[in-house]
């Protein structure tokens, strides 16, 4: 969407609700002033007036165009301001940008999703899209790891998925607390516990770079073909338009050519895990 045919001008959106997901993570619920459609996996540039903007993949359903949810971890200057915003605030949205998940190519397949930390935000949007086409899918398996049980966001999502036909969700934590009775260990340890039919399966990986790296290498070791491992890459996507150069990863502008790539497309590019 372009406002006044100007690629740099944001669309205004009203903040209607702020959901506290964890001490460091909030979900902002936004109502754009015009309908705003996106494909799951695409991202937006969200701005705080006069302060700055940053890239986020919406965590809400791509089937809804009059309401947008963005889940934000407080990590620095702009996200610090975003965490201070109250309902009623006006924000700016540019986008949607880039190439999302090619969900039509998932038909007839088992989808294994490997997620970590705040990577669950774009995955939630993907799950909404997959629920909508579940009749065309074989099975969807989510393996998600967080640092501690309290760092896990969207906890009700796991119960809901485990009650949805064809869907199953597994959790692990790096460090357990007294109440935790589940798996302890990095997210790849869950892969030993789920049954996968490799011949029919594809994988999606989204999370912090270190988790993406070891998750991908584990999937390759398990026998997943490089072109059936989908990665959502995190780089400094500043303009979103394939121009400003901040997100260059070898010959790719992550903002325009990605952010979703197959491992096969990017494995020979430099610094993909940084």
């Amino acid at each position: 969407m372009q406002v006044n045919n100007n690629i740099y001008a944001p669309l205004k959106a009203r903040l209607t609700e702020v959901i506290e997901e964890s001490p460091l993570i909030k979900t902002l619920v936004l109502i754009p002033e015009e309908k705003f459609s996106f494909n799951t996996g695409q991202f937006i540039e969200l701005s705080v007036d006069g302060i700055g903007e940053a890239p986020f993949t919406p965590s809400s359903s791509p089937l809804v165009s009059d309401r947008l949810e963005v889940t934000i971890m407080k990590t620095g200057y702009v996200t610090g301001y975003m965490h201070e915003l109250k309902p009623g605030a006006i924000m700016g949205i540019r986008g949607p940008y880039g190439r999302g998940y090619p969900v039509e190519s998932f038909y007839g397949k088992e989808v294994l999703i490997l997620g970590g930390g705040c990577g669950l935000a774009p995955i939630r949007s993907l799950l909404y899209a997959l629920e909508n086409i579940s009749d065309k899918l074989e099975r969807v398996v989510l393996c998600y790891g967080s640092k501690t049980p309290s760092d896990c966001i969207y906890k009700p999502l796991f119960t809901r998925l485990n009650n949805t036909p064809k869907f199953e969700a597994h959790r692990t934590v790096d460090k357990a607390d007294e109440e935790w009775g589940g798996n302890v260990g990095v997210v790849t340890t869950l892969l030993e516990k789920v049954k996968i039919n490799l011949r029919k399966s594809l994988a999606v990986v989204c999370g912090p770079p270190v988790m993406m790296k070891f998750g991908t290498l584990k999937l390759v070791e398990m026998g997943y073909p490089d072109d059936l491992i989908y990665l959502s890459m995190e780089k400094n996507m500043s303009c979103g338009l394939g121009k400003c150069g901040h997100c260059m990863m070898g010959k790719f502008f992550v903002c325009k050519d990605g952010p979703v790539f197959t491992y096969n497309e990017i494995k020979d590019q430099p610094d993909i895990w940084n």
Binding site: D49, E234, H246
Partner: protein, 334 residues
């Protein structure tokens, strides 16, 4: 290609008349060298023809260092830029691919391109670091510019390149077809002479494709050696006719200021999560060469280095990329 001719005195008169309807910039020598100046009735006779290379790269006419890209005020007077060396004309190719990209057209850039007539000037000489021909670029323009202007004694010769150039030259009624074969032969002689100069000055320099291979294969030590004099000032990217990375800065009212940026500045690729693949100075230094000679040539049709040599002249650390590439060549031959 059509050539037109006009007497120099008549050309100066014609140019002066154009000043009422166009803003004209042309290459003029001053005490410090050659650069673009706004042409007035008082300096028309000072315009330099056939000399390489103005200090300022052509990109600054289309990509200002800093501009408000949401204010919507960018309509400008029609412009003529006169005296552009072919290296800078070739540098516009990649900027056009990026900023006129049909998915996301930068309207400020497009308007400036549409309202500007590009008149190139053949280089009849070379400056110290000129090496366009090493990368397959001629020291005279036959495509990309609208017209090329050449001065031979008291004659101004125009090479008509595009329909826009044809339309413009039809307004200048004093222009006549250049039927004097001797003058055209003389132009060719100048071309051959300068090409020979360039070739002999740069015979140790690898061509573009070989440079890409050498840069890709080079180990960390050579980057550490050459970047040890780098102060991350970004002069090389600022002066480069093809570097166009920028930063968007937010201003109240959801306005965006687009400001030139440089991959040589610390934090250029830093993400919110703290990852920064260009944290080390030597990595930033290496990144610029990989970007120019390897990555962009895989992504774009146009070149990301035109061999103008300005980055060598602008470097505060006196780093010469051509010395670096020559050293890489020698190392690869051992």
């Amino acid at each position: 290609m059509r050539y037109l001719s006009i007497n120099k005195e008549e050309w100066d008169v014609a140019l002066e008349r154009l000043l009422s309807s166009y803003t004209v910039f042309a290459t003029i020598s001053n005490g410090y060298g050659l650069d673009y100046e706004v042409v007035t009735a008082g300096n028309i006779r000072d315009i330099s023809y056939d000399r390489p290379k103005p200090a300022t790269p052509l990109k600054t006419f289309f990509l200002p260092v800093r501009e408000n890209v949401t204010s919507g005020k960018h309509a400008e007077r029609q412009r003529i830029i006169l005296g552009i060396p072919n290296c800078d004309i070739k540098g516009l190719g990649i900027l056009d691919e990026i900023y006129l990209d049909k998915d996301y057209t930068d309207i400020s850039y497009r308007e400036r391109r549409e309202t500007t007539l590009l008149i190139s000037s053949d280089c009849f000489d070379m400056e110290k670091n000129c090496h366009c021909s090493s990368y397959g670029i001629k020291p005279y323009s036959e495509d990309g510019a609208d017209l090329a202007v050449i001065q031979i004694d008291d004659h101004i010769i125009l090479r008509v390149i595009t329909p826009k150039g044809e339309e413009f030259s039809s307004q200048l009624t004093m222009l006549k077809p250049a039927e004097n074969g001797e003058i055209l032969n003389e132009i060719e002689k100048y071309h051959k002479a300068v090409e020979s100069l360039l070739s002999s000055a740069n015979k140790a320099l690898p061509d573009f494709e070989t440079t890409g291979k050498l840069v890709s294969a080079a180990g960390g030590k050579i980057w550490e050696k050459y970047s040890s004099h780098c102060v991350s000032c970004g002069a090389c990217t600022t002066i480069c006719p093809t570097c166009s990375c920028f930063l968007l800065i937010d201003r109240p009212g959801f306005e965006k200021i687009k400001q030139m940026d440089a991959c040589q500045y610390p934090g250029f690729e830093r993400t919110a999560g703290g990852g920064d693949s260009l944290f080390e100075l030597s990595e930033r230094f290496r990144n610029r060469y990989l970007c120019k000679y390897v990555w962009k040539s895989r992504k774009f049709r146009s070149t990301a280095c035109t061999g103008c040599g300005r980055c060598i002249e602008a470097c505060l650390g006196k780093i010469s990329k051509n010395e670096l590439f020559t050293e890489l060549t020698h190392a690869s031959q051992q």
